[in-house]
């Protein structure tokens, strides 16, 4: 971390304010994207296993579609997953210069693990496609396939299946670890002045504050993914047409219940994490952001309950929009808490900058 410390230039107050704004933008882009990927991986692996156990191709197809939906494409992983983490890393290096480098260390760990996880998840996604192509060629062409090609297919089919299993499990595992480091980085940033979290890696792994915030992140990820699936399958472009009706019916029920259960956990985690916030991070804007997020969640309870009870999909597009707004409100509250914690350090840095500036300006 000494290298990063030496690289930081003296910061003006305006530059640090700009860094806080950019951190909000990076959080607003990163959190929904990585939440969707994490929740999508959990749903995809669950349905893949269900498809294998029940020997149901529809579940396996759904697992393949979900991961393709949430990862968007390869460039999205870079632009919405990796670059925002780099922005947060550089931004926090400057904001926490002279104060505490623990958040930066965790962001660096998150950058490495999330980067590897996104690569593995993209391999998982494309291996699904290749697995289907090979089995389809084998099924349709049958005995007409050239001898060498048939041997290649026989050789590569099980390998691609193994690759698919391996990258799926490791991708999800590493993404869980990466998001844990990311949450630990944010928690250390909020607790940098008067929080009582151990700064060591092992201490952070066992910290109740970080674990509760990470569980909160997982619950939010699952609810956001369920809302995206509902939005895509039942609203976007008039809903998905090429799925059998009985399957969409069961999917509708499962996703609505998953969304409802994951949402039920959110207010509890918001309450616990608010209680655990240190005094230095609190302000009216932090509470306003948390209140807005809770308001969206409670409104969603009404709509989802109505959809489950009346068995309709009139409001199916609303959960995704409201959850995105809730995530934006929470990201704003988070960044405001960080800005409040680092306020004193910001003023010290600005003062150092002004002193250096006046020393370097020639006097008349």
């Amino acid at each position: 971390m000494d290298i990063l410390d030496k690289l930081v230039l003296p910061q003006s107050l305006e530059h640090i304010t700009l860094l806080h704004f950019l951190s909000v933008v990076a959080l607003i882009v990163f959190i929904p994207y990585i939440s969707m990927v994490l929740g999508g991986m959990i749903v995809s692996l669950y349905y893949k296993r269900k498809g294998t156990v029940k020997n149901d191709a529809q579940h396996t197809q759904f697992a393949k579609e979900v991961i393709a939906l949430v990862t968007v494409n390869k460039s999205a992983g870079l632009a919405l997953g990796i670059v925002p983490l780099v922005i947060l890393l550089i931004s926090f290096t400057q904001v926490y210069h002279l104060l505490n480098y623990t958040p930066v260390k965790f962001f660096l760990l998150a950058f490495v693990t999330v980067g590897i996880a996104l690569i593995l998840i993209n391999v998982y996604r494309y291996s699904f496609v290749f697995k289907d192509i090979l089995s389809s060629v084998e099924d349709t062409a049958g005995d007409n396939i050239n001898g060498n090609v048939a041997a290649d297919i026989r050789q590569f089919s099980p390998r691609i299946s193994q690759l698919n299993d391996w990258t799926g499990k490791w991708g999800l595992g590493l993404l869980c670890v990466g998001t844990y480091f990311f949450v630990a980085g944010l928690t250390h940033a909020i607790n940098a002045v008067d929080g009582d979290i151990s700064k060591s890696l092992l201490g952070s792994l066992l910290s109740i504050t970080i674990i509760s915030r990470w569980l909160y992140f997982i619950a939010a990820s699952i609810s956001l993914t369920a809302s995206v699936i509902l939005f895509y399958y039942f609203y976007w472009d008039g809903g998905k047409k090429d799925v059998p009706k009985d399957y969409t019916e069961s999917l509708k029920k499962q996703m609505l219940w998953l969304l409802f259960i994951a949402l039920l956990a959110l207010p509890f985690f918001i309450l616990v994490n608010t209680v655990l916030l240190p005094a230095s991070s609190l302000s009216l804007f932090v509470f306003a952001g948390l209140f807005l997020a809770l308001l969206f969640i409670f409104l969603l309870y009404q709509l989802i309950y109505n959809m489950i009870k009346e068995n309709h999909l009139k409001y199916v597009h609303i959960p995704f929009i409201f959850l995105l707004l809730a995530v934006i409100a929470l990201a704003l509250a988070e960044q405001t808490a960080i800005a409040n914690t680092s306020l004193k350090n910001t003023l010290i840095q600005a003062d150092n900058y002004n002193t250096l500036n006046s020393e370097s300006t020639p006097t008349k």
Partner: protein, 90 residues
């Protein structure tokens, strides 16, 4: 493949993601300004700007690098970028 769906709404969705990517790349240029990277800083910032130009040309202007005229302009802009970098290093 969802990203290759040609419906109007999917095109808008793709462009929205591209826009987010551009915002993030602009943010990266700004946060880098606070680091003492010496002569490497203008180089990195110019590379980020070049990536942004490429993304805009591909996503919003529908220019394909395989087009002949596009190749000429990519060559000219590459030359200008190289001269700018030389001026930075010199």
């Amino acid at each position: 493949m969802y990203s290759k769906n040609n419906s109007t709404t999917s095109v808008y969705l793709n462009q929205l993601f591209v826009w987010f990517g551009l915002v993030i790349l602009s943010g990266l240029s700004v946060v880098l300004a606070g680091l003492d990277l010496g002569k490497a800083l203008p180089f990195i910032v110019l590379v980020i700007a070049a990536v942004q130009v490429y993304v805009i040309a591909r996503a919003f202007m529908n220019i394909r690098p395989s087009d002949k005229i596009a190749k000429v302009f990519i060559g000219i802009s590459g030359l200008i970028l190289a001269v700018s970098l030389l001026l930075v290093v010199a």
